[in-house]
């Protein structure tokens, strides 16, 4: 475990520390965001290893040095300093201790060195291939006996970095890295919930931190054994949920926006379902930050000289759509690049090969049953959502939080995509559901629990309307600022 922590801190968090500091400044989320940035850089390094030549370590060093130099240059040019409105160090430490403390109990499950089926079948072989250099990776993934060769490279790349540190004598270290990344993902979710109350009264802040710690434990509980036996489903699910919280729930700010982007990149580079969820969340974040009814467009056409000027209208429209496209494509680029690369080198997809002998109609019933059997929290979440929206909407607005419907939309769109996959995929439906639906529904499950947590913070933290966070309530919606 100590070795895995060394890899996480020295191999992933340290190279990601400066970019993370530039994004979130002195926010406690930096503890979990820095390893995420490191893991994303490792995944991009694995893409370059496969697409060009060389080894993972070579590309990782190049990317990490280039990224850090770019961030340092940006810092020098903009003369940016740590924000004055950042929380004091005591508060930073307290939040970090509660969050890390909440994870200790679930992580004691690591006392038994469990190894999931997919870890042996997919993740460890992929990790060894990435660790072996370009030729070993290419020929290994192209081998017809290799399972799911098109799976994205973040987890294998992070594990291969561990092998670069300590050799391939202990394969279990790669699995431990995955578990620690799972914890980081839940940490980002927890920090997002803690940030819901970060600018409010002392009571609101304390409640938010306690609920955030509880939510980390709930995340481990929902994933069960999958959280500690090397499966990657919790990683992409919690990363996508982190993007939902930072991009769709917390007040709009540059800091929250970039944090959401990093989470999206991690989700899209972890698993195929993660890429689908990431694209859904990205579209929603884009619609929140750049709504279809452009305020600036309206403002510009209010000027009499612009009213009949079609050039101004056209340029504003083009600019608006270009921004929206960039908001979606830039963070999704690493995930989409892997998808394209996998097709280019002929890596097969196991789920959409030969057409299924079962019709979508015959698959519909079992798929719905399978999915809903893992959404037991849904009725309670619906009830709290309806009651909260009716009774606590004003408190939510005073805290400048996004509408609760954003989270639900992300959930429902993902569930629709999941249902479509089960309906039109090629595997036998009952076998497929038996072996996957408890993992593919982790994202909506933890999203619904997170919605409950946010309503709980709002409900407990503001017993009267005047108690709502004064710092945040002054933020003009839509204007970039700090969360």
């Amino acid at each position: 475990m100590i070795r895995a922590l060394v890899v996480l801190i020295v191999g992933l968090a340290l190279p990601g520390a400066l970019p993370a500091l530039a994004v979130v400044r002195r926010s406690p989320v930096i503890i979990f965001l820095a390893p995420f940035i490191g893991a994303t850089m490792a995944a991009v390094a694995a893409e370059l290893e496969l697409g060009t030549n060389g080894s993972l370590v070579m590309w990782y060093v190049i990317i990490a040095v280039a990224t850090n130099m770019a961030v340092a240059a940006w810092w020098l040019v903009t003369r940016s300093s740590l924000g004055r409105d950042d929380p004091p160090w005591t508060w930073f430490t307290f939040t970090a201790v509660v969050m890390l403390g909440a994870m200790i109990v679930p992580l004691t499950g690591l006392r038994a060195p469990m190894l999931g089926y997919d870890v042996s079948a997919i993740w460890l072989p992929h990790t060894l291939m990435v660790s072996g250099g370009h030729q070993a990776m290419l020929s290994g993934l192209q081998n017809v006996t290799t399972a799911n060769p098109d799976y994205p490279p973040l987890v294998p790349a992070a594990g291969a970095l561990a092998f670069a540190f300590f050799g391939r004598g202990d394969l279990y270290i790669a699995e431990l890295i995955t578990v620690l990344l799972n914890a980081c993902a839940l940490g980002i979710v927890g920090m997002g919930i803690a940030a819901v109350g970060s600018k409010g009264s002392l009571r609101l802040r304390l409640i938010a931190i306690v609920v955030a710690g509880t939510m980390c434990m709930v995340g481990f509980a929902v994933a069960g054994d999958y959280a500690v036996d090397g499966y990657t489903d919790l990683l992409w699910s919690a990363a996508a949920l982190g993007a939902v919280i930072w991009g769709l729930v917390l007040p709009r700010s540059n800091r929250a926006f970039i944090t959401a982007w990093i989470c999206v990149a991690v989700a899209s580079l972890t698993k195929n379902e993660g890429l689908t969820a990431a694209l859904i969340v990205l579209v929603l974040i884009t619609l929140r930050y750049r709504p279809l009814a452009l305020v600036r467009f309206r403002r510009s056409t209010r000027h009499p000289e612009n009213r009949d000027n079609t050039d101004v209208r056209t340029s504003m429209t083009i600019r608006g759509w270009a921004e929206r496209a960039a908001f979606i494509l830039v963070p999704a680029l690493p995930g989409l690049a892997w998808d394209g690369l996998a097709r280019e080198v002929g890596l097969k997809n196991a789920f959409f090969g030969a057409p299924s002998t079962e019709s979508p109609g015959a698959r519909f019933g079992p798929a719905i049953d399978g999915i809903t059997s893992h959404l037991l929290v849904l009725p309670i979440a619906v009830a709290v959502f309806v009651a909260g929206s009716a009774l606590l909407r004003r408190d939510r607005e005073l805290n400048a939080l996004g509408h609760a419907a954003w989270l639900w939309m992300a959930c429902l769109l993902y569930l629709s995509a999941l249902l479509a996959t089960y309906l039109f995929g090629s595997l036998e439906i009952h076998w497929w559901l038996r072996n996957s639906v408890d993992r593919t529904t982790i994202f909506p499950q933890i999203a619904l629990y997170t919605d409950l947590s946010i309503w709980l913070v709002i409900g407990l933290g503001t017993t009267s309307r005047g108690d709502a966070a004064p710092g945040i309530s002054r933020t003009r919606p839509g204007s970039p600022g700090r969360a």
Partner: protein, 132 residues
């Protein structure tokens, strides 16, 4: 004072009406989260039970032993066939032979056939290697 009391009582009443639904929302959310945490505690307790720890440690020893056996009994780059009907053991063998041997989809294209069999070499199992 006489005029103040009823007004205060009225205000208290309205505050209760405002806060009661809020309390219900908080109660439902708290209980649901607490039940989930309890469920998680049970899972963790099962994971770290002596039986579970012992089973997985034995499994870990077996894996390490088979990993070294593959590198001892087979030449580097050997083309191997692992019977896919071997289930989980077959997956383990494919995993542990990565970067040393090259798995083949059919025995005809492989020079060696490997399988995991009951034995004493690796804590209850052994690696069986034969020419195809």
């Amino acid at each position: 004072m006489a005029r103040y009391l009823p007004r205060r009582r009225r205000r208290g009443k309205s505050r209760v009406i405002v806060n009661l639904p809020r309390a219900v929302i908080c109660l439902v959310a708290s209980v649901t989260l607490a039940l989930a945490v309890h469920h998680g505690m049970e899972i963790t307790a099962a994971e770290r039970s002596p039986a579970s720890v012992s089973t997985w440690k034995t499994f870990d020893r077996q894996q390490e032993c088979i990993y070294h056996a593959i590198r001892t009994d087979l030449p580097k780059g050997a083309s191997i066939y692992i019977d896919p009907n071997g289930g989980y053991a077959a997956q383990i063998l494919a995993e542990l032979s990565t970067l040393w041997a090259v798995p083949q989809p059919a025995p005809t294209s492989a020079g060696w056939k490997i399988s995991e069999v009951p034995g004493i070499a690796c804590s209850g199992v052994s690696l069986k290697v034969s020419r195809t």
